[in-house]
Amino acid sequence: MIRYLYRSLPGPVWLRLVFMAIMLVIAIALLVVFYEWVGNTFLDSGGSLG
């Protein structure tokens, strides 16, 4: 899928690599937000009340 995504990007190699790096950062950020939400909701909310 990553290879397919890379090939479908327009422009020269360096521009494709920049696009891929940006998408990687966004994907990791979204993953961390998702992990945080799941962890706080189901695993450990920090013990506060209310």
Binding site: L31, V32, Y35, E36, V38, G39, N40, T41, F42, L43, D44, S45, G46, G47, S48, L49, G50
Partner: protein, 274 residues
């Protein structure tokens, strides 16, 4: 032992291109889910723990500065009109033994009134400190029975609790009149209150702040629902309430530990007034 029959033609299972792509697709989805779960485990129990320990280093240096700069003052003691605590102190609560807190400096338990020899205070006084800004260090909590030694941050938001146990705003500060509430993670972010279930009645908890070291003794432990906010109410006397998730690896309920002030710079004055 395998017997090869040469008279029989070799049978080969032929898979069509569709079957192959379906199997490949399932394998890829399984791999993706596996990586997602592995990433979740590494993040929750590895990355968050590192973040918490980094936060602790920062909080401890903030606390040192707060204590050194003497962010406290003597004020006239004025008893507050508070409700009676629903938690009863056991009549057979053992007397506090300073030896139960290793490394305790006895001087930190004394009232700063002793720093003014010969001076007469007409009214009872207590040592008081201002509430730190949310996210900044308030104190340090030590519970020998639960292996707890963590810096306490002001606030209980998600961000605040990432660096340690947090003091709930609008509740009393440790060592003051009322009910000081401190919450902490049980499974993630370094799990400051992982072993809080080991605490039993009579165990000691010390909270060091800019006003000195305040020692509490546990009087009750129980489990409540997350919406049972009555445990954070303000009660007559000086109390400490610790809350964390119950059971481990679940946010479904709360484990609560309630303790009462037995020693510290303000203990004599506050307890005499109740």
């Amino acid at each position: 032992m395998t017997v090869v029959r040469e008279d029989l033609p070799a049978i080969r299972i032929k898979r069509g291109p569709e079957t192959t792509s379906i199997i490949r697709g399932i394998a890829r989805i399984g791999l993706a889910i596996g990586l997602l779960v592995a990433g979740f485990i590494v993040y929750q129990f590895g990355v968050t723990s590192l973040l918490a320990h980094r936060g602790q280093t920062e909080l401890r240096s903030q606390l040192d500065i707060r204590i050194e700069t003497g962010a406290s003052e003597l004020v006239v003691y004025e008893p507050l009109e508070l409700a009676q605590s629903p938690i009863a102190v056991p009549f057979d609560l053992p007397a506090f033994d300073p030896a139960s807190l290793p490394g305790l400096d006895p001087v930190s338990l004394e009232s700063p009134v002793a720093d003014f020899p010969g001076e007469e205070f007409g009214e009872p006084v207590i040592v008081f400190e201002s509430v730190p800004v949310a996210g900044r260090a308030l104190g340090r909590i030590v519970i020998p029975a639960a292996g707890v030694d963590w810096a306490v941050v002001e606030g209980v938001t998600r961000e605040n609790l990432k660096s340690g146990a947090g003091h709930m705003p609008e509740t009393a500060l440790p060592g003051q009149q009322g009910n000081a509430v401190i919450s902490g993670h049980r499974s993630t972010y370094g799990a400051p209150f992982l072993h809080l279930h080991r605490v039993t009645i009579g165990d000691v908890i010390s909270v060091e702040t800019a006003t000195g070291t305040h020692v509490y003794q546990v009087v009750d432990t129980f489990v409540v629902e997350p919406h049972d906010t009555w445990v954070t109410d303000q009660w007559d006397g000086a109390w400490l309430t610790l809350t964390t998730c119950e059971p481990v690896l679940s946010a479904s309920q709360r484990l609560v530990v309630v303790a009462t002030l037995v020693a510290g710079p303000n203990a004599g004055t506050i307890l005499a007034g109740t």
